[in-house]
Symmetry: C2
Subunit: 354 residues, 2 copies
């Protein structure tokens, strides 16, 4: 006992008073900027969770028969095995899914809005918008799943419900999930249930979060140096908060254009939503949580190289040319944003009878 106490003291000694103060100073600098991912799913306004609603939401998230082709589920592009993204399927030449790079569903509940252009205000809106988007709409539009022609809207909503009714098992699952609804199997309840499931897709316990809450050893010196650079260079002026991003909009190319490879002229970003000239080439600042798992990067998915992405951002957003070891350190820090991935047991989906 005494022996191990002495050993512990010896381990503490090399830190010294000065080193401890540096650690504290960095944490003092970081704490007002960032926030750890909570350990439990947040509640959604006006959409209380229940075990039954959660179970239904998970089923629907994995339900390919919600799509027009009956082949694509939420989980196809927001793959829970792959950081909540499609790993670049879109950007690697799959002509069918032209659009913007898929954004991760993990921790999306903490974002200010959904999609690269923020056109959905919350998870439920995003779901409703995406379920609507049939593959034909995706073929024709840049920007991922889009709200379809309003004249088609009612018909499409009804088609979704009709498809679900081909699986009689869903009638019971909706009834249990929405016990107070006279007619629970309605379009908006698809979005409500999936949103409740998606709110559970959070990744706590990243090394950075453990460090932020007091575990000095959770980051090594290179990673801490990277964090300091991330703050001092100005990255954290946009990439901050619980999601290290996701909380604001910013023009891509605020100092210098990153060039058409990363920012093609035809996709003006949030301008398509607001029609305000100030929103040309403005995008939602993406979350950097689990960024090492969510390549390729940018709304164009134009690079798989995280260090290159960091350099492009430094030049285009901050007008800074990073030294090679600075970029390396920032990348080392970014990899500490990888949290515990949710453990997902596949749901069993009801059979279709027609």
């Amino acid at each position: 006992m005494r022996h191990s106490l002495i050993a512990s003291l010896l381990v503490l000694l090399p830190l010294g008073a000065g080193a401890v103060r540096a650690e504290d100073a960095l944490r003092d600098q970081a704490k007002p900027l960032f926030e750890p991912i909570p350990k439990t799913a947040p509640a959604l306004p006006d959409n209380p969770s229940s075990p039954e609603k959660l179970a239904l939401g998970k089923m629907l998230y994995f339900e390919p028969r919600l799509s027009e082709s009956r082949s694509f589920a939420c989980s196809t592009c927001h793959n829970l095995s792959m950081g909540g993204v499609d790993g670049g399927a879109l950007s690697s030449g799959n002509a069918q899914l032209a659009g913007r790079e898929v954004q991760t569903v993990f921790n999306a509940v903490f974002n200010k809005s959904q999609y690269w252009d923020g056109r959905a205000s919350d998870l439920k809106d995003q779901v409703v918008n995406s379920v609507m988007a049939n593959p034909k709409a995706m073929l024709k539009t840049r920007g991922g799943p889009m709200a379809i022609n309003p004249t088609e809207l009612a018909a499409t909503k009804q088609r979704e419900i009709d498809q679900l009714k081909q699986m009689p098992g869903y009638a019971d699952a909706f009834k249990k999930a929405f016990p107070n609804d006279a007619d629970p199997l309605v379009y908006d309840n698809i979005g409500r249930a999936i949103a409740v499931f998606e709110a559970t897709l959070i990744t706590p316990d990243a090394p950075f979060d453990r460090w932020l809450t007091g575990d000095d050893a959770a980051l090594d010196d290179t990673q801490k140096a990277g964090l300091k650079l991330f703050i001092d260079k100005g990255c954290a002026s946009c990439h901050n908060g619980v999601n290290v991003g996701g909380a604001s909009y910013a023009k891509f190319g605020v100092v210098a254009s990153p060039g058409p490879e990363h920012l093609p002229a035809e996709d003006a970003g949030r301008y398509a939503v607001t029609k305000a000239n100030a929103d040309r080439y403005v995008f939602k600042v993406p979350s950097l949580r689990n960024v090492e798992l969510t390549a390729p990067y940018f709304h164009t998915g134009s690079t798989f190289d995280l260090k290159k992405a960091v350099n492009v951002m430094a030049e285009s957003q901050l007008g800074a040319k990073l030294a090679d070891d600075e970029a390396t350190k920032i990348v080392a820090f970014l990899k500490t944003l990888t949290g515990k991935q949710p453990e997902i047991v596949l749901p069993i989906l009801p059979p279709r009878d027609r």
Copy 2:
């Protein structure tokens, strides 16, 4: 204690000596024909399992980046949430995936051969054949994933390996799964690992299996009557063994053609494999395990209605016209073949770096 003993005796009384004998007689009739699904995964010849190989096989089973488009994993069409099939995506008008109806991966390890035409001798061959099939090949051929042109074979194998090497995490996973191989990341090891995972996808404890092994109450009277009809009418002459099918080949339309809806002239089945005239319109007898989960039915996926499928089979294979209540009872029996679905925790897949 004594009270509950008396209660038990009272419950047993109504069965009577005669009823017990009828139960035993049916079981005596069934036992030589069928076999329960074992509770644990069978060993594969020349492909021993290990936790590491199983883990790798599961990763690869869920790996969409094995496909040319990086969008289709084994799990896309052999969906483990949906009885190991795609629930009819193919047969409901998805022009991209023309071919035969998807066969379930569940209990496939017990089949004599794989595919509707038996062109793969085991799971590993099926995997190797399917991984090869790029979406272009699937577009052009009837019959599902086909072995591609031999002159392209080497290039395609190499492309698979190159794609996997874009995810550096796989190097380590292959090394652990194949510790004795000098170069473990080779094409055939993809098939070996996935086959080991697929061998675990078995569905024990179906009501029928519990009844077969002595639990009288596992089937109700209608289901038992259905089993008796299933045997007496001749269904079990092909649909027998551990998989209630999957053990032999048979001509579809042996007594009368089921018509072009179910048996289109252009798909001659096993003839394409053997070129023997006797194999025209011969198919592997499909397993009926979990049949209530694997609609639509037939190699054409031409109906979602299990009762209709039973009637078509009776007429075309046995020359029998079933009374409505006979078909109903057989369907009731078939639903007792649904076993415990495997509980699958999604694997975490390594990120891609280029």
